[in-house]
Symmetry: C2
Subunit: 399 residues, 2 copies
């Protein structure tokens, strides 16, 4: 296959959190931010975007059919081919994958990938419904198992098998809130300490309030372009090195283990293989920054293990050691954006939201939370409790 | 761009209609039918499928998040990358487009595109909701405008501008029910006459019962492959000549005219351009068979006009003349499957369901409803009242 190089030339997001605006306005905010981040607006106009892939699970319950077309007309792109991509909380990870593929193949030169979600207007029942539908319906949701319940089972088993403690879980929250405190797009911009995390009310034992991310409102947008377009539009290109994706059983009882998400490893391996074909071999050791899917603190612990940053079972102590802190220098900076934990988790907007952070970090525009000398980054987006997953690899490229 | 040739090597569908099975079982039925249609099963196994795109709008309200992963585990493809694609009733048209792109680009060799919907278990309110969300929510659905209402406005205006009559509309229903009577997968397998169509109760003036398709249960699946795989797997390859897609305003009041669906023309033009790049120039005159999106009889009249089979405004007399009948020889055979009208319309399954018909017709396996000497065919899938649209072109290829 002749694969063309693909670059992210613009990326932006709305502030995540409790927003009065509807999904159209949120998406527009993200889209305009993405357009505004293109270095040379005189050499790039929105109408160069040829096609769009939009991730959303529930679209605030407002426009469940055809929302992609609705968003296109709202941002001045009426008429272009656009579709909604849905894989629960990995919706925009998959949207990005398909957009990347379209540019890599040469079918189009410029693509838009993005996502939007609106959770805070929903009644508690309706919100629980829209979250619950991401897990297994027949065996989990209709039996009353909520998402905190699913991840609590995984945390419990991880504690049992590997001696992981509540302090280990809390260390994820403390780190990510420290990062979120430096992110003006984050829902929670306050640092917390270990004591506060541990003293929080229990949501589903062993998970407390600070072990759970906040499902919220928000949108994100990423503009992908061919090398030719990228050269004109930007001085600081961010190259997509590879894309990986996988699926798995929806229900956790069908999987061989509660303490791993196999789709993560499969997706990462595919992304690495793709980076090889593209002339640059990436392994775990090359990763400077990893935006991982920390919908619960245990999810980040599983992610750093399944991505190979540390041995299976060691994710707790590894995180508590500070190795994944923004400026430790020991391991990759994990979730410098604050992660889902502090930045907030607008389901369908999270996958491309992670890529917004990667884009800023690799261009050196992440301000106070800038990771030094970051060259290679990863974005890891999970749907459900691991039924779907994408991993994308990125590199800073010298113009 | 180096674009590889892409072939449909297998395609199948469940019977459409009021089915007791759930979406998983329906999809499995379609998938096994698709596998069973591959000429040389000894040279093709299901595990060669590398990735899947699944169209669905509501999935029967059962598994709104991650249904693609659920279907993969149910048909023995657990683990492969899969996502749901949603663009209302054009969901699987877009699923097919993205699957085609992935194979054409060389990213993968074998892809699965399909769709599934389950409408008959829903309460009338819930069913109206899932249909309504395909139109514009803010200006149409919440104001009480239903889909029969939207298309009735279009029919009324077409009558006013061009003199189209209820008899013209009924001619579409009579033709499509005659075709459906020969299709053992159709929901309605009975021919009707003009008198019966005209005497039917009014749904929304000027549309009567026989002017409206039946939203129903069903699934469809299509297997796409590279030339190398297709050569081994089949003796009767069906080549994909081109893919076109477009979006438009959701609300009809925003469009310049009520008597055309511009997205149809745009998508068709793109598909024709793509066929040129692929070495075979296709125009309207080359089309032997057209499966078009006749959710209402007026929709087929608009489609034959917007695709250029006849002049704008002449779709009624053109259809009533018999030109688009299965064996007229005057024009393309339009909806030889029976169309949405007689075959039934399981929203997300309709787009790839049309391609099942095209596949059978171009391979000469359509039985009693076989169109003679068909070489080039088109599938036209519309979401909402024209907010989204795909057109795909296919050709019989001599092995």
């Amino acid at each position: 296959m002749t694969r063309r190089r693909v670059y992210v030339i613009g990326a932006g997001q709305s502030r995540f959190g409790d927003r009065p605006e509807g999904p159209k306005a949120l998406f527009r905010e993200a889209f305009e931010a993405a357009l505004g981040s293109v270095d040379h607006p005189e050499d790039f106009v929105r109408t160069q975007i040829e096609e769009a892939w939009i991730g959303s699970l529930g679209f605030g319950g407002q426009q469940l059919g055809n929302p992609a077309a609705l968003l296109m007309e709202h941002v001045g792109l009426r008429g272009i081919s656009a579709r909604r991509v849905e894989n629960a909380c990995a919706s925009s990870g998959f949207a990005f994958r398909d957009a990347y593929r379209a540019v890599a193949s040469g079918a189009i030169d410029v693509a838009l990938a993005g996502g939007v979600e609106k959770m805070n207007d929903l009644s508690p029942d309706h919100r629980r419904y829209w979250l619950g539908v991401s897990g297994d319906t027949e065996w989990e949701r209709l039996a009353g198992l909520t998402f905190p319940g699913v991840y609590a089972l995984m945390a419990d088993r991880h504690m049992h098998e590997y001696g992981t403690t509540k302090e280990h879980l809390a260390a994820v929250a403390v780190k990510n809130h420290a990062n979120g405190a430096l992110n003006d797009k984050a829902q929670f911009q306050k640092a917390i300490d270990l004591e506060r995390a541990l003293a929080a009310p229990t949501v589903c034992d062993p998970l407390g309030l600070f072990d759970c991310c906040s499902t919220t409102d928000g949108a994100s947008a990423v503009i992908l372009a061919s090398e030719e377009v990228a050269k004109r539009a930007t001085d600081r290109p961010v190259r997509v090195l590879g894309s990986g994706a996988a699926t798995d059983h929806l229900a956790i009882h069908d999987r061989p283990s509660l303490t791993a998400i196999p789709a993560t490893g499969k997706a990462f391996a595919e992304a690495c293989r793709e980076s090889e074909r593209d002339g640059r071999t990436i392994t775990t050791d090359d990763i400077d920054i990893a935006e991982v899917h920390d919908c619960f603190t245990i999810a980040e612990i599983l992610a750093v293990e399944d991505l190979g940053f540390c041995a299976k079972g060691k994710g707790g102590p590894y995180t508590a050691s500070g190795a994944t802190a923004r400026d430790s220098g020991d391991g990759p900076a994990v979730n410098p954006s604050g992660g889902l934990k502090a930045k907030g988790h607008p389901l369908g907007a999270t996958g491309t939201g992670q890529i917004v952070e990667v884009f800023q970090q690799l261009r050196g525009t992440a301000g106070e939370r800038q990771v030094r000398d970051a060259e290679v980054a990863l974005a890891h987006n999970v749907g459900g409790s691991g039924a779907t997953c994408t991993v994308h690899l990125f590199a800073r490229e010298v113009a």
